[in-house]
């Protein structure tokens, strides 16, 4: 304490830090989280989080729903990449029921999943740009996210909460328009992504803002249960797509980008590179799909009438389809007893489904392993000692999705 230090009158409360309540509706937090931060000037001393502001009791609802009715719930977990959640859920059910899907279905699923991964990362990266002061990128790339949504719309009829696919495959074959739109996307998107990349990647302001902000070491990240891009940015090459391949990911050639320091810049770079890799995977999958000839080129679901809902027009005109439809809807198809854990690489990391079936119509217990919920715990440790504005940036670069966090 020198002579310039303000000396408070005798007996007044001396407090050197400021308490700041950030959220749950603060515009800088993209979602409904509350952070009560203790600030020393601009620096964050400590932070206490509250979550649960959109807790919707998915796990309880799922206990009252037959399997095919749980798909709409999974849409609303991580709503930036709903199709991945849908596919993860279908794959879990298929694992439980022992359904084997044809290769073409797997490849179609890969296309859909990688498209939604791009949509997810695109939002996250452009929001990181917004929070570091560059609104341009966000407004610009939203246009290209629309292209992805148009493909989803063509395949399933919905843009955001897709409810795409059924147990055993897709509800309908991809139309030619869908493939035309996919081609359009494959042609136009790399240009836009390249522009977003060149806007931010070597941008002096962006680099100064993000390098060294919100770092986490690989050991701490593992201890905190990080998965997905955030773990890879810390330098661990764990990716569910490679470690436990599902939906024929083993047929594709792609690399996993890995960061070094786990700071905001590395997370940005990892997501950016993952988008390029996703493009690469989509191209391969599209090529593989075109190689199918004859009857194989029309396959869009597995031949499992006892679990796959028949087409509606068949239900009205064919006896057998009507019987299966009735049986599935009324829950007369037996579900095997058992416990199954299946995980997919979601937009934010390992999205796991732990399903306990007691042979009844509905799951006995369904637990979602939500990556967001698990890694958000590390936030106070990551922002300790950083500036308040960098703490905001850390929050957006972690890609926190309230719907996934609170389930």
């Amino acid at each position: 304490m020198n002579e310039h230090h303000i000396i408070l009158p005798e007996g007044s409360i001396e407090k050197h830090t400021t308490t700041l309540n950030l959220g749950p509706t603060h515009p800088a937090t993209h979602g409904v989280f509350q952070n009560i931060m203790e600030l020393d000037g601009e620096r964050v001393v400590s932070s206490e989080q509250t979550v649960g502001y959109i807790h919707r009791a998915f796990e309880k609802i799922a206990e009252r729903r037959p399997l095919y009715q749980i798909t709409p719930l999974t849409d609303r977990l991580n709503y930036c990449s709903s199709p991945i959640n849908n596919m993860g859920w279908h794959l879990t059910c298929e694992k439980l029921l022992g359904v084997k899907t044809p290769k073409r279905v797997d490849y179609l699923r890969v296309i859909i999943m990688e498209l939604s991964r791009i949509a997810d990362h695109l939002i996250c990266n452009s929001i990181v740009g917004v929070d570091s002061g560059a609104f341009t990128g966000f407004l610009y790339v939203m246009q290209y996210r629309e292209l992805i949504y148009e493909i989803f719309e063509e395949v399933c009829g919905s843009r955001l909460t897709t409810n795409i696919g059924r147990i055993g495959g897709f509800e309908r074959n991809f139309s030619n328009t869908a493939f035309t739109k996919l081609e359009k996307f494959l042609k136009e998107y790399p240009v836009a992504l390249g522009e977003l990349e060149s806007l931010l990647k070597r941008n002096r302001i962006f680099m100064d803002r993000t390098i060294g902000g919100g770092p986490i070491s690989a050991e701490r990240a593992l201890n905190y249960g990080f998965t997905g891009p955030n773990l890879r940015a810390a330098g661990v090459d764990y990716d569910v797509r490679v470690h436990s391949p599902y939906s024929s990911y083993e047929d594709f050639d792609f690399t996993i980008p890995v960061g070094k320091t786990g700071d905001n810049y590395d997370r940005f770079l990892v997501r950016n590179e993952e988008m390029w890799q996703s493009m690469h995977i989509i191209k391969q999958a599209y090529q593989k799909i075109q190689e199918f000839k004859g009857e194989e080129a029309e396959v869009y679901h597995a031949n499992v009438p006892e679990y796959y809902l028949p087409k509606k027009e068949d239900v009205y005109t064919k006896m057998e389809a009507l019987i299966w439809h009735f049986k599935i809807i009324m829950g007369e198809v037996d579900m095997p007893k058992g416990e199954v854990y299946h995980s997919v690489e979601g937009g934010n990391g390992e999205l796991g489904f732990y399903l306990i079936s007691d042979g009844g119509r509905t799951p006995f217990r369904l637990h979602f392993r939500r990556p967001c919920f698990i890694y958000y715990q590390a936030y106070p440790e990551m922002v300790k000692g950083s500036m308040l504005s960098d703490a905001i940036l850390t929050m957006s670069s972690l890609n926190l999705i309230a719907g996934e966090m609170d389930a």
Binding site: A57, L222, Y224, E339, Y341, A378
Partner: protein
């Protein structure tokens, strides 16, 4: 050397004897049970033993078995060995009257919130947890909503005609 489920089972039986039981393989994943007093010792061993190395806690959740007298609540742990890419699952059971289980948050920082969630949903009291309070629901809530005896639906609703919903 890739570690197999048989190898894990053999190692665990060597170390803990009768304190690990009900081994079964569900869709390729080894799962077993252990008494609730033993959960920390078991996790510590799984983490420290070099040939096992389960250093990653994938998931922790609760389950309610209302018909299972004396073992109504279960806490399920999913562990993952990232190097060998092997997953295991184990459960500890506890009675609903004394739902006390030791906390794993000292071993895995990830367990902190997952245990709070399990407390919030099922009322499992994690002994030694640094901050055991509700996480997703409001603090004033006076029951544990995911237990099977509590209803799903919002009980304050008056606009729903039971007859219209087939419950008349």
């Amino acid at each position: 050397m890739a570690i197999t489920n048989e190898y894990i089972q053999q190692k665990l039986t060597e170390k803990f004897g009768d304190a690990v039981y009900n081994f079964e393989e569900n869709y390729g994943m080894l799962s077993f049970e252990t008494p609730k007093e033993n959960n920390l010792k078991l996790m510590q061993y799984l983490q420290d033993e070099p040939s096992l190395g389960f250093g990653f806690l994938t998931d922790l959740c609760g389950v309610n078995y209302p018909d299972n007298k004396g073992r109504e609540l279960a806490v399920v742990y999913h562990l993952h060995n990232l190097q060998e890419n092997v997953r295991i699952r184990f459960k500890v059971f506890t009675s609903i009257e004394h739902p006390d289980v030791f906390t794993a948050s000292k071993l895995y920082a990830a367990a902190d919130w997952m245990e709070r969630e399990t407390y919030d949903f099922y009322g499992v009291n994690f002994i030694g947890h640094p901050n055991l309070k509700r996480i997703l629901n409001v603090d004033e809530m006076d029951y544990f909503p995911l237990r099977k005896e509590y209803p799903l639906e919002d009980q304050t609703r008056i606009d729903k005609d039971d007859e219209m919903f087939g419950r008349g």
